[in-house]
Amino acid sequence: MSSLSRDDVAKLAGLARIEMSEEELVALSNEFTVILDAVARVQEVAGADVEATSHPLPLRNVFRADVVVPSLTPEEALSGAPAQEEQRFRVPQILGEE
């Protein structure tokens, strides 16, 4: 039986960049016990001899002609920005002070 502890969920939430309340962490950890049992069924038939399919179409290296076409103007590209400055996206601090 698979399960995820409250701390496992907290670690995953950190990786997924989602802040979670204690209540949410506990609720998800309980739900995952049930969900993981259900999805783990795939292991019953996934033998070593079966190839994996990642995509429904057997496509390889799709190319198009390298032609210059109009693109968004800076104003259009920035039109949904939560904050902007000097025609750029203004973002919170990314690097540490040290």
């Binding site: 739900e31 795939v42 429904p56 179409l57």
Partner: protein, 498 residues
């Protein structure tokens, strides 16, 4: 006028019996009168729709050659980017976002002069089977307002069933076009994967997502299918081949000599009695129309649901990483000294709903080192087995059929706290997405026990979409002559009898 089919509306427009402005206004009036109860729309573009309709009327007056659906109105699922029009995907994280570009589907609609009325409600980022996961409140099924209209495209299906629009666009990742069609007594088609461009369709699970037509008749769906389909250089997974002849097939509706395979595993236990009864009856009608009914087996379909709930969350955990509060959408916690990481964490906490978070976490787990092979890797192998089952079945039959869903529409709130029960709704629709083939749902009648619509699913091989239209049109004609009137005539009349 609003109860006509899209094909009939188009004919009246050509004959000059009605203008696109009048037709568009009639639908806007209808929305104004019933949508407070149905809540199919998240945004109604009154000005834009009337302006587009007026431009089309002007072109027609000048004698310009127009496309078959020119001037007919349509409802657009809110997962499709439309330039300058709010596009939320049913999520708080995109509230107020107006895309600076058109999706290819929207560009094709505009090119074909199809009038876009507005954006329809959906489960947040198309994750759900009931439209209850919308951050903007649920949509109600016009057959019974206490019930779900299906999901994720419940806004589109409800808009059709409530005569708010004769055409709609949906997207189908695990059944989000077909299941809403089934539970609202409408028609929905998931084309072959790659048949319709995904450019500008906000991605949930890229290897499964496919946009398609929703309508009240098979012919209307075919006309819309042709308008939106075709190769698009902006989508590298779009198929570079001629669009299947779906309109020709829908007009002919000929099944003589066709072999129709009944999938043994998609019936029986867990399927409501009324659903099974309508399915058997439809098979008899197809046999009478000249088709040969055979039984086929797809032993690995029982693992499809489990594989889907690993593959779709895995892809979604990656796709939804783009909602990082930096370039567009919601930003929370951007105070002096706050790090980008803390802003992302807080924004995604507030911006995403419960089901989206559940799937992102599940996907993050399934892709994490140490578990990848056991979960995501195994699910990909199941995908191979399901595709092989389809290949074997299509060696024995031209199309495959099943009930679209195990049950009719359930009550709003009934399954909201039981994710697994909710996921079971999609048990018959998911295999189609896993293999990338075509799937259609059309109404096959009402279940005796609850008087609610039942869907009949037709599945066709890759790029043989015309086959499901042949079978769908044949069944639709046989059912119509049996009923004497369209099934939606039996739905409660809303907003006055017009």
């Amino acid at each position: 006028m609003i109860r006509s089919t899209a094909a009939e509306m188009a004919a009246k427009l050509v004959a000059g019996e009605v203008t696109s402005v009048a037709l568009t206004q009639a639908h806007l009036d209808r929305i104004a009168s019933v949508d407070a109860d149905v809540h199919a729309f998240l945004y109604v573009d009154t000005e834009g729709a009337i302006a587009q309709a007026a431009a089309i009327d002007a072109k027609r007056a000048k004698g310009e050659k127009l496309s078959p659906l020119a001037g007919v109105p349509l409802a657009l699922k809110d997962v499709m980017a439309q330039k300058g029009i709010p596009t939320t995907c049913g999520s708080k994280i995109l509230e107020g976002w107006r895309p600076p570009y058109d999706s290819t589907v929207v560009a094709n609609l505009k090119k074909n002069d199809i009038v876009i009325l507005g954006k329809t409600n959906m489960d947040e980022f198309a994750m759900g089977s009931s439209t209850e996961n919308s951050a903007y409140g649920p949509t109600h099924n016009p057959w019974d307002l206490t019930r779900i209209p299906g999901g994720s495209g419940g806004g589109s299906s409800a808009a059709l069933a409530a005569f708010e629009a004769p055409l709609a666009i949906g997207t189908d990742t695990g059944g989000s076009i077909r299941q809403p069609a089934a539970v609202t007594g409408t028609v929905g088609v998931k084309p072959t994967y790659g048949g319709v461009s995904r450019f500008g369709l906000v991605a949930f699970s890229s290897s499964l997502d496919q946009a398609g037509p929703c309508a009240r008749t098979v012919l209307d769906a075919a006309l819309l299918h042709e308008a939106i389909a075709g190769h698009d250089p902006k989508d590298s997974t779009s198929i570079n081949a001629p669009v299947p002849q779906v309109v020709v097939a829908a007009r002919a509706g000929d099944v003589k000599g066709m072999k129709i395979g009944v999938v043994k595993e998609l019936n029986g236990d867990g399927y409501q009695a009324g659903v099974r009864a309508r399915f058997e009856e439809s098979l008899e009608l197809l046999a009478k129309a000249g088709a040969e009914i055979v039984e086929v087996s797809a032993p690995n379909f029982e693992y499809a649901l489990a594989a889907y709930y690993l593959i779709a969350p895995s892809e979604c955990s990656s796709n939804l990483a783009r909602f990082d509060a930096m370039r567009y959408g919601l930003r929370v916690g951007d105070i002096e000294g706050a790090s980008a990481e803390s802003v992302m964490n807080l924004t995604r906490e507030v911006g995403f709903g419960k089901e989206v978070k559940r799937r992102i976490i599940l996907g993050t787990y399934a892709l994490s080192s140490g578990y990848y092979d056991a979960y995501y890797g195994s699910a990909q192998k199941v995908r191979t087995l399901i595709t092989q089952d389809f290949t074997n079945a299509f060696a024995k039959a031209d199309v495959l059929v099943s009930p679209t869903c195990p049950t009719t529409a359930f009550k709003i709130g009934e399954k909201a706290n039981d994710p697994l029960a909710m996921y079971l709704n999609d048990i018959a629709t998911i295999p189609v997405n896993m293999a990338g083939i075509g799937g259609m749902s059309l109404p096959s009648g009402l279940a005796d026990e609850d008087g609610l619509p039942v869907g009949f699913q037709i599945m066709s091989p890759v790029m043989k979409d015309e086959r499901m239209y042949s079978v769908g049109a044949a069944l639709e004609a046989a059912l119509l002559s049996k009923w004497g009137a369209p099934l939606l005539d039996k739905a409660p009349i809303m907003g006055g009898a017009k």
